[in-house]
């Protein structure tokens, strides 16, 4: 799945999964159709935003205004939609994610002094996989000890966890839609193990 392509570099941004993705239906696809739909989200802008300890409390609100997205103050939650989303990463730390457009970093940097907010571009450092479907939680259950039950991990929740032995951020976009962020270098391995785990449910790669 390709997202936002206004950037002139778009054609050259090559996902870590470019060489491995095979589209189609695989595994034990039942009459009800595949249990899972899996795709890569690429290219995205993924920006880590941190505020200084000594920050002016206004700063965050102003950035929030500028970007038109709230920064969740509750641990393990997210805000926004596919167009622009913010995830809680840790104390005073968030991730802003959006389909690659104009340089988000520049946008913020021009308005705010670098001693108040710290931006780290991680757009290329993460591979993002979207997992969707009735068996999505079952697959997550294979990889991590977080309680994936709807009651504890619903829409707009996110966790940073060890998923199939990799550091991963999982964002619950909707009841059965999850965005998974993992380090780019492991993308191929992650992709393989994810598909392997999904085989018994049947899956479709889009």
């Amino acid at each position: 799945m390709t997202e936002g392509n206004t950037n002139k570099n778009f054609l050259r941004r090559q996902s870590a999964l470019a060489h491995v993705i095979n589209y189609g239906q695989f595994g034990n696809v039942s009459l009800n159709g595949p249990g899972l739909f899996i795709c890569e989200r690429h290219p995205l802008t993924i920006l880590q935003l941190e505020t200084a300890k000594s920050k002016n409390p206004q700063t965050l609100a102003e950035i929030s205004n500028l970007l038109n997205v709230e920064f969740p103050q509750t641990n393990n939650t997210c805000h926004g939609d596919d167009e622009r989303r913010s995830l809680w990463l840790g104390p005073n730390r968030w991730l802003i994610v959006e389909p690659e457009r104009d340089c988000l970093q520049t946008l913020i940097k021009t308005k705010f002094s670098s001693s108040d907010v710290f931006l780290t571009d991680l757009s290329h450092g993460r591979s993002t996989v979207r997992l969707k479907g009735r068996e999505a939680r079952e697959v997550l259950m294979k990889g991590s000890g977080v309680d994936w039950h709807l009651n504890s991990f619903g829409t707009d929740h996110c966790v940073h966890t060890k998923l199939f032995d990799l550091a991963a951020t999982v964002d619950c976009r909707d009841i059965d839609v999850f965005d998974i962020y993992i380090a780019r270098g492991f993308a191929e391995d992650f992709w393989d193990i994810l598909l392997d785990s999904a085989e018994e449910f049947g899956y479709q790669v889009d």
Partner: protein, 99 residues
């Protein structure tokens, strides 16, 4: 599995954490004129109690914060968790088992 309640992320498997060790060690201040014994103590000596142990873990697969954990080294029961500089209140009830 030890389930450690990260003060920020909630209960997680200890496999998400990296064990650091004794949380009671205070790094000698730089302006103490180099006191060899204090440094030796800081770097090498451990209380190693049989019973409650205050220890640090890093939630390296989660929020990356260092977390202070009070744990019984005999039963592995975790009594309390908090941030490194937090004074943890050890609720005696932590020892009792509610049904």
């Amino acid at each position: 599995m030890l389930i450690i309640n990260c003060p920020l992320c909630g209960p997680r498997d200890h496999a998400e954490f990296t064990y650091i060790g004794d949380a009671t060690k205070n790094r000698p201040k730089s302006d103490d004129i180099s006191n060899d014994d204090a440094w030796y103590d800081y770097v090498y000596l451990r209380d190693n109690p049989k019973g409650l142990h205050e220890e640090l873990w890093q939630h390296s697969f989660g929020c990356r914060c260092f977390v202070k954990v009070v744990r019984n080294t005999v039963t592995h029961q975790i009594i309390a968790t908090g941030m490194p500089k937090e004074d943890l209140i050890l609720d005696e009830k932590g020892f009792e088992r509610s049904v």
